[in-house]
Amino acid sequence: MNFICNFPFFSILLSLFSGTICSVLPAKAAKVVNRAVIIAVGLMSAVLLLYLLSTGEPFIYWMGHFPAPWGNEIRAGVLEAGMALFFCMIMYLSMAGGAHKLPGEVVESKHNLYYILVNLLLSSLLALVYTNDMFTAYVFVEINTISACGLIMIRQVGRTIEAAVRYMIMSLLGSGLLLFGLCIMYDLTGHLLMSNIKESVGLIMANGEYQIPLIVSVALMCIGLCIKSALFPFHAWLPDAYGYSTVSSAAILSSLVSKGYIFLLIKIIYRVIGFDIFNNTRIIDVLFVFGLMGMIFGSLSAIKEKDIRRMIAFSSVAQIGYIYMGFGMGTQAGMVASVFHILSHAATKSLLFVAAIGLTDVSGGSRKFIDLTGAAYRNKWAGVAFTAGSLSMVGVPLFSGFISKLLFAQAAVQVEGKMLASLIVLGISTVLNAIYFMKTVLRIYATTDEAAYTGITFRDMKAYAVTLVFFILLNVILGVSSQPVVNMIEQGLAMFA
């Protein structure tokens, strides 16, 4: 076996152990270790991606060379490697974009803890992406929850503690349901490895026995992951969790953590249940309807919001709705659109969170719209970045958001029964998006008479500005040359089967 095949295992372990090391290091060193680990994992994922593209074959890696069922399995295909690479990029940019705020948000003595949590989060995300074993997936779902909770709570103000408790309860409910589903599945099939379960599921469906328990188990797993990824109407935990945590946490939580669960769901759909079997159940119709409702109600809540961070958080609810709508279409094209939207939303949402902090900083730290008046003139880079992110969210051509909308629409018109509903809701949601994002852009570019707050120039925020530029570039690249990415997604999904 090629040396490169070790990389998925290396990246999970590297991030896991670097977390432990961070606990004894001083804060500065922990920061360096954290950045280095993200870069190293990113590089490894990139090499792995190139390797997989050249071989064109996914591979299964036996931990410790013990074959299953004694050993644990890791599986890597183009989609997994690509996702890992993308997660690392977003995580690095989010950390870099929020670094200057960290001292103000988190008590000095807890900086270590912060980096431990981030590393732990990265390792659990990577494990969710790479694992080929349902129980391992469950374990890392829990690790992910705990570290995410920590990331919310580490900024110790009243609201975050409340938000973290709420997140904890909802999230544990979600993992509980996932565990139920998993138990029933284990009972029915007798396996925990994804490929083995899939074989048994195929047999069960063919024999016609135990179909209902099987569907129940699938439904439980789906709902569990929906709660964790904040699909409407399970989104109650989201606005506070994203709205009050530290900048980097908000960016990471919104763009990576929820996406990790969604990616696990995709894996379950393809690798555990089988795409066709899943699409023949009514579960996709439920997902479709909830997705559509999320797209509208998320945006409506965002319109009503008077706090910029919470507004961006509510917009996530709408965007998650898009992704589930794609699942609900039950076609390959819908799935490709959803996976692309995972990338596009991750790139845009983290940009918005990071840009928003630049704007609130020059408005006396207030996040109310009224105080943000003219903020874009005080911090020009953040203003431009926020505008770019908004345009992408609204779906202006040349930004990533446009391509995902295009892909969704293309997928929708191929599904007879769901076309009209998808297109109309897509239209409504786009206009609603335009309303609240353009309202915000309007607000930050409105001119004020009195100079209540002082501005900031490039010299005072070099790292921050550079991060923003990278974020914008990422969005534009996804928007202009989407074809290679879409090809990769298609290839990766084909490898899943």
């Binding site: 345009l391 191929q414 109309i424 897509l426 786009t430 353009m438 309007l442 409105a446």
Partner: protein, 497 residues
């Protein structure tokens, strides 16, 4: 291929270069020499861009079309020059450089001159792209970019009023474009491709199957793109946005950029095919909307005391003349419509530049204050008068030819009620047009006995201002004197070669 690409990307690159090179306002001792260099550069860029566009039109290399890159697998960014595109491109190539030269003097005292020229060039490039776009998705791309690149022109002065007007413009345009995009999604399913083809691209089976829904789609698209052309009920942005821009920018906005909406309408008609829409409720509803706009625009212009605002209302009314001609959907009315694109383009540019010259020289903005202006600026007011005659439709000007064809086409159309009602409303509106344009001539040349002749000063603007006005005025008459040349091009446009 290369002339087309150069005509699009050269001005965009040049615009970005100006924005970066002159990012700080010119000031200090070297202001004059620096400004000379800036103007020389801008002038060269404008001329070179126009030359590229003319080369693209003349060499005929674009007739076969070429794909620049694929946005998604089946949606290429595709350019092709057809005769409708040629007509609109001709207008842009003539008006933009002249209005640009006019700005050299007009913008003399502005602080952020370079920003204006930068976005001006950007808009030029995007306009070329819009004219040369060969399929609906490329067209949509440049349509959105046109809004974004022309918005800074509206907001140039930076006053609160201007910024709000710019955002109003942005918001209306985005919403309109999204309504249109909704239609594009649906068209994509029901057409073989989104490439512009003569006689409609709808599949016959689709027409039979979802005829009713396709009509709704067509109506939504016409309304959506109609926003840009200031069609009732979404016209409110135009009288707000156009007058606040600097006069030469208003000229370009009012004479060329709003025509993007007209071009879009023609493209939509081309996609659906006039045979499909003729005689349906869509046609009736559309004609009603255009006639309302024609009359209402003239009436509002008649009541408006501020000169530039009056001209903006006039644009609302005149553009719906064009849309009316398209809505009647026969060849004669269509010839009239296309002819009016050129006639209105030259006239409105000339009128706005005249208004700009008056404002620049005297600082007066209301028509009531401009008594005796013809004694001070005779040449300008003569140009105003001749151009006005063109808009009213008095032979031998271009406006006469186009209105003749419009009325003739309407009478020949055999539509119930509207075949007579149309020309009647057009005539009424022409009377109102005389009523709102000619008072300036009358009071300008004949200020009355009580006018204080002693305070008269020679205020004729310098050559840089008067020559563009003269040329545009002469052009507006010339197309009336030699309608054959125009008509033959338009014939080509109608037959779709």
């Amino acid at each position: 291929m290369f002339p087309i690409l150069l005509s699009i990307f050269f001005p965009i690159a040049a615009g970005v270069f100006l924005l970066i090179r002159y990012r700080t306002p010119l000031s200090g001792e070297k202001r004059n020499t620096d400004r000379k260099a800036l103007l020389l550069l801008t002038g060269c860029f404008l001329v070179i861009t126009a030359a590229f566009a003319v080369a693209a039109l003349l060499t005929g290399t674009g007739k076969d079309g070429f794909i620049l890159f694929n946005l998604t697998k089946t949606l290429p960014v595709y350019f092709r020059i057809d005769s409708v595109g040629t007509l609109f491109s001709l207008l842009a190539v003539i008006v933009l450089p002249f209005a640009g030269f006019f700005s050299f003097e007009y913008m003399k005292h502005e602080e952020r001159e370079s920003r204006y020229y930068g976005f001006y060039l950007l808009a030029f490039g995007v306009l070329n792209g819009l004219c040369f776009a060969g399929n609906l998705i490329t067209f949509y791309l440049f349509f959105e970019l046109l809004t974004l690149s022309s918005m800074p022109l509206v907001m140039h002065s930076g006053s609160k009023e201007a910024v709000m007007a710019g955002l109003k413009y942005l918001f209306y345009s985005l919403c309109g474009a999204y309504a249109a995009l909704f239609g594009i999604y649906f068209l994509y399913r029901n057409c073989d491709s989104l490439t512009f083809t003569a006689g409609g691209a709808l599949r016959a089976s689709a027409v039979a199957e979802h005829g009713g829904f396709l009509l709704v789609t067509a109506f939504v698209m016409l309304l959506g793109f109609g926003v840009k052309a200031g069609m009732f009920p979404m016209h409110a942005w135009l009288p707000t946005a156009h007058p606040v821009a600097p006069a030469p920018a208003s000229a370009v906005l009012s004479s060329v950029i709003v025509k993007a909406g007209v071009l879009a309408t023609i493209r939509v008609l081309g996609m659906f095919g006039t045979n499909f829409l003729r005689g349906t409720w869509v046609q009736t509803a559309w004609i009603i909307l255009t006639l309302i706009t024609v009359f209402m625009g003239s009436l509002l212009a008649y009541r408006e005391p501020v000169l530039k605002k009056r001209l903006a209302y006039s644009t609302v009314s005149q553009l719906s003349y064009i849309l009316f001609g398209l809505a009647v959907m026969n060849e004669t009315s269509r010839t009239g419509a296309l002819c009016h694109v050129l006639a209105h383009g030259f006239v409105k540019a000339a009128l706005f530049l005249c208004a700009g010259a008056i404002i620049y020289k005297t600082g007066k903005t209301r028509v009531g204050e401009m008594r005796g202006i013809g004694k001070e600026m005779p040449l300008t007011l003569w140009c105003w008068t001749i151009a006005s005659l063109g808009l009213i439709g008095i032979p031998p000007t271009g406006g006469f030819v186009s209105k003749w064809y419009l009325a003739l086409g309407s009478l020949k159309s055999g539509l119930p009620v509207f075949d007579v009602l149309g020309p009647v409303i057009l005539l009424l509106s022409a009377l109102l047009t005389a009523g709102y344009l000619l008072p300036l001539t009358i009071y300008g040349f004949f200020p009355g006995a009580d006018y204080d002749y002693g305070s008269l000063q020679k205020k004729e603007p310098c050559k840089l201002m008067i020559v563009p006005i003269l040329i545009l005025t002469i052009l507006s008459v010339l197309i009336g004197l030699f309608p054959d040349i125009i008509a033959s091009t338009i014939d080509m446009a109608i037959t779709g070669r």
